[in-house]
Amino acid sequence: MSIFEKIKVWRGMGKVIGTAAGAQVYAGVGGLVNAAAGLTAPRLAGDIPWTPFAKPLADCTVSLISTAGFYEPGDEPFDVDTPDGDPSYREIPMAIDPGSLAIAHTHYPKRYAEEDPNVLLPLDHLLELADAGLFRLARRLFSFGFGGTLTGAYVKEPDGTAHQVAQQLQEDGVDVVLLVPA
């Protein structure tokens, strides 16, 4: 176990930014955070993946990917202590009550999502829109924890976790994926 994990650096940071004052400071340095995250994220090699929107929205199956660390109680939480971040993901039923979910993440102020999960996981809204016939909802969504640095464990072919999720989205017949970052 590295010294980083022993003193639980990320967990401590999460506690600080979880406070009202910490959230204010974090908001003030948000640009720096984004810039730092951008430097570590794997840069896309090649052309931007692109599929034209070519069918009526009402005929589309919509799913959701979150990076906010949501997981079902009883399921394994994301490892928030590993310095490289946890590349695993969790499948969550789309019809679940978002208020029943727990959050394992240390890199953003969780206070907003803990008060109203729809700020990051708009399940109530998506269910309402699907019930109105605007589109179909997939049976499940996928939740990542991220944290740490974004590494090739997510995108390395063929077994990176992003590729695994993409495969499962195809199996579910998903046409549209909303990616909502934390």
Partner: protein, 87 residues
């Protein structure tokens, strides 16, 4: 980040981390941002485009969003969303 990783279409709002769709309990604000995601899906034709509606985090009234407004009848004639005005 969206540019670096090659996101096909994106909507960028200057909201705090942890509140991508808006304030807790702010239904109309959240539905407005969600609507813009679906507008970007239907309107964007240039890979990698990032739409910036210019919404404010607080002190802005967001009018109720009509459910049918999510669907673009004529994508070519669609107008970009405009920020709601302050009171």
């Amino acid at each position: 980040m969206s540019e670096r990783v090659g996101c096909p279409r994106a909507v960028f709002v200057k909201f705090p981390h942890g509140a991508a769709l808006g304030e807790p309990g702010a239904r109309d604000q959240q539905l407005t941002v969600l609507r813009d995601l679906f507008w970007a899906l239907q309107d964007v034709t240039e890979p990698g485009a990032i739409v910036e509606p210019g919404y404010r985090w607080r002190r802005t009234e967001y009018p109720p969003v009509a459910l049918q407004s999510y669907v673009r009848e004529t994508p070519a004639a669609a107008e970009p969303p405009t920020p709601p005005g302050d009171d």
